[in-house]
């Protein structure tokens, strides 16, 4: 549905996007990840025919963004980074304007506007001036505008930026539900978002693609041997000795006092073994309270940081780092 080949964009002497290639199948949701200034917005602007590429080609639904921009624009719904809205218009009037320039036939307009308002939960504010809405609501108006014409392709530049947690969840649900029949590219800095919504991730840094895979594979690949975090009530010394004797434990590090008489440990297990039942039995069997037991994987955040900060500039795929070296975060 979307095919990007060797796309390059230079602003003067600065190369913002540097030979990016990827493709998105129909119905797929692609997450577009990268630190600030990576070139996500620039790539999306090229895909939506807002900017011309310096080199390379991009095709959307079989149409070249440069040769047939109108055909491409007819098939795309786009939310730019800052939703482009007219502050002196009411929400419904704005959507009505959008429905006209999107070429929705007159008889369908009302229905489509109502649907979009419904889906993005804007019913309460439909007759409010956009300028008087909070940022989150404005973001939703932007989303409503993008899905209004039920386009084949949705290009969403940080669609959940500025939303409250409840809204983020709802918007992700909405995006997920739009997948399947729509093809979606979504850029974000929030990695759980990608884990939850996207079928595939493209990580881009300094204008280059540095990794491309499913979120699961990326996490898996970098998860390492499966470290665990154990929290139990008791003294560090006896617990240390206890845990050390559990079969399969190949590494053990005290992580200090977790408060309320609880001490924490990081446990490295043999590759491919889940030691959680054994560890639980050992702790409880020795008469201690087991307070916490969780798997320490690398979250996408860490992978992301790893790839985008320590990776060499030539964009090679990173080596899988040992999970035990990674900072401890929950990733069950």
């Amino acid at each position: 549905m979307i095919e990007v080949v060797n796309l390059t964009k230079r602003y003067g002497r600065h190369t913002a996007v540097d030979g990016v290639s990827f493709s998105v199948q129909k119905g797929e949701i692609l997450g577009f990840l990268g630190p600030n200034g990576a070139g996500k917005t620039t790539t999306m602007r090229i895909l939506t025919c807002y900017l011309p590429a310096t080199e390379g080609t991009a095709r959307v639904a079989g149409f070249d963004v440069f040769e047939q921009p109108l055909e491409v624009k007819r098939r795309i719904g786009y939310i730019p980074e800052t939703p482009p809205l007219y502050p002196d218009m009411e929400v419904a009037d704005f959507l009505s304007f959008c429905s006209k320039i999107k070429g929705i036939p007159g008889k369908d307009r009302r229905r489509k506007i109502d649907e979009a308002i419904e889906k993005t939960r804007l019913v309460d504010v439909r007759n409010k001036h956009i300028g008087k809405l909070s940022k989150g609501y404005r973001q939703r108006v932007g989303l409503a505008q993008a899905i209004l014409a039920n386009p084949d392709v949705l290009i969403l530049d940080e669609p959940t930026a500025g939303l409250d947690p409840k809204q983020i969840l709802e918007t992700r649900e909405l995006i997920k539900s739009l997948g399947g029949e729509h093809t979606i590219i979504l850029s974000t800095h929030i990695l759980p978002e990608v884990e939850v919504t996207c079928g595939r991730v493209v990580i881009i840094n300094k204008g280059k693609v540095v990794a491309e895979d499913t979120p699961e594979n990326l996490t898996q690949r970098l998860r390492g041997s499966g470290a665990l975090r154990v929290e139990a009530r008791g003294e560090t010394g006896p617990l240390f000795d206890l845990l050390r004797t559990v079969p399969g434990v190949i590494g053990l590090r005290p992580k200090g006092d977790a408060g309320d008489g609880v001490v924490a440990f990081e446990v490295d297990a043999e590759a491919g073994r889940d030691l959680r039942p054994e560890l639980a039995r050992a702790v409880v069997g020795a008469g201690h309270d087991l307070v916490g037991l969780s798997r320490l994987g690398m979250s996408l955040e860490e992978i992301f940081l790893q790839i985008t900060t320590t990776d060499s500039a030539d964009g090679a795929a990173p080596e899988a780092p040992a999970a035990a070296e990674a900072p401890a975060t929950e990733a069950s």
Binding site: K73, Y78, D93, F97, G103
Partner: protein, 262 residues
């Protein structure tokens, strides 16, 4: 068909803006008020002069023409007022879209640059035309109280002249608005450009060389002369239409090229 719909969508949006803010009402009031005032002054002067000249002929005498004494100065004064009013109509057309980032909305929807430019141009010209129309209420007493109804034709050509002249300035103002994201800057630049266009007419001197004549030909006010006297010359109409067309062409080129320079 779809292009017509797109243009009219833009026109509607701009009109919503004009009438959703005080701007349209203020301009309508100022324009109509000044129109009435200039009309009144010219008319009184005309009555005075004709009374002096031909006894008590009640102004409609054949010796002095109402067109020459009232309509012509009136329309020409309004042409000067338009120099101030039109920048206020055009300055935000593109500058504000660029500042708000809504130009990205327009550029990524299935619209062409031409449709956007034309929509904005027609919106401003439409409002300007509406202002002229409203200000015609000032003529009502003339028809009501005059013993013989005045001829409507010179009024019609004068209105047409003012409209065509306004459209030319609006086209230039639309172009200038594409050059900046600051509407105040766009307004000031437009005003300066209009003044420059006005002063071109002052170069008109039959004894001058061909270059100066050519420059004078570009004067937007000079081509109003005949029409304000009630004489409709196709050449003048063509001049204004091509002038507007050229301004709009520049605007379209500017919008398009900015994407390339971005």
């Amino acid at each position: 068909m779809s292009s017509l719909r797109n243009v009219s969508a833009i026109v509607e949006k701009e009109w919503r803006h004009y009438f959703g803010s005080p701007i349209a009402y203020v301009l309508l009031f100022v324009w109509t008020f000044l129109f009435g005032r200039f009309f009144q002054v010219a008319f009184e002067y005309f009555l005075l002069a004709s009374a002096r000249q031909g006894g008590m002929e009640m102004g409609m005498g054949p010796k002095m023409s109402l067109n020459e004494w009232v309509l012509r100065p009136l329309f020409q004064n309004m042409a000067v007022v338009a120099l101030f009013v039109i920048p206020m109509l055009t300055m935000r057309l593109f500058a504000e879209e660029k500042r708000q980032g809504t130009i990205e909305l327009l550029s990524t929807n299935p619209l062409t640059d031409w449709q956007v430019v034309l929509g904005k141009f027609f919106a401003a010209t439409g409002l300007f035309g509406f202002m002229i129309l409203v200000s015609l209420v000032n003529f009502v007493p003339l028809w009501v109280y005059a013993t013989t109804a005045p001829d409507w034709k010179p009024v019609a050509t004068g209105v047409l002249a003012l409209l065509l002249y306004g459209a030319s300035l609006i086209a230039v103002g639309t172009f200038i608005s594409t050059l900046t994201r600051n509407q105040i800057v766009a307004g000031i630049l437009s005003f300066c450009a209009f003044l420059a266009l006005l002063t071109l007419g002052w170069a008109d001197d039959p004894a001058a060389g061909p270059l100066q004549q050519a420059i004078a030909y570009l004067s937007v006010t000079a081509h109003m002369e005949d029409m304000t006297k009630g004489v409709l010359d196709l050449k003048d109409v063509v001049f204004y239409l091509s002038f507007s067309g050229f301004g709009l062409f520049l605007a379209q080129q500017s919008v398009e090229s900015q994407r390339w320079r971005a």
